[in-house]
Symmetry: C2
Subunit: 160 residues, 2 copies
């Protein structure tokens, strides 16, 4: 078990974490005032809601991969900023459904150009077929991991 020729640059754990953080950091820089007061968790929540509005709070805990207390307070904050609102689910009063306000939907339009520009710049010169395959692999990993998380004991959302 010794003499591992382990190279992080060949590890998907390392690569996805670093590239993810670097891209986010770059986008944040480009966006400037557009993301004033919006932190990592806020953005994570918003992206999920842009994909599907009205998710349950618990869905966001799984998907954003943060502690449920963290998500609760992030939503409280977003609600104060009039970006989302929460509705207790009538069918199961333990759940809360999260909805975007018009302001929350508009944020998507503000952010999108920055995200597209950042990725475009980084991908310059890399063959489109390879990028497509890369996304395909990541998408499969993502779906599999989320699936797994849902059938797992709660807690433990610490991401190293």
């Amino acid at each position: 078990m010794s003499q591992h020729p382990y190279n992080p640059l060949d590890s998907l754990v390392f690569l996805t974490n670093r590239v993810g953080r670097l891209l986010s950091s770059d986008i944040r820089k480009r966006a400037g005032d557009d993301v004033e007061g919006l932190y990592s968790t806020h953005m994570g929540v918003l992206v999920d809601l842009w994909m599907q509005d009205g998710l349950r709070q618990h869905d966001l805990v799984i998907s954003v991969v943060k502690d449920k207390g963290t998500i609760a307070r992030a939503l409280e904050n977003l609600e104060k900023q009039d970006i989302v609102y929460r509705v207790t689910d009538a069918a199961d009063r333990r759940n809360k459904r999260i909805y975007l306000t018009p302001k929350g939907r508009k944020l998507k339009e503000d952010m999108l150009p920055h995200a597209l520009a950042s990725v475009e710049e980084v991908l310059e010169g890399i063959p489109a077929e390879e990028v497509a395959i890369c996304k395909k692999v990541l998408r499969r990993m993502y779906k599999r991991l989320v699936q797994k998380m849902m059938h797992t004991t709660p807690a433990d959302t610490t991401s190293l």
Copy 2:
């Protein structure tokens, strides 16, 4: 600029961030006691040092993509745990070089099996050529982004 058919599942920003967090979370779960007291920033620092021992503190700030104050305190913590030690660079006394202790090197051996097992499980059934291409693309993005960061005003390591 409206009517964007934007789908996060087709965005490398979204995919890398989520897959990265999910993988890290999964590994943390597998590792259990082996990572007791080691948080996100600590692990980030360690991985870099496993690649190359004796890096300057500033290199870690760029690579781990966290604030320099955050890195400073993480190193202070790791030093207390006897995992790394810091040496002022004689050639330029502003810099500090960071070295792994034997305990720090051993941690690599402890973590590695968990990381390998996690990735292996997630990649099951995905063609090896596609995974290889995915890594290649991410590696290029990583190098380009780090390069860019180094020629950029400091600060702004917030990663959305």
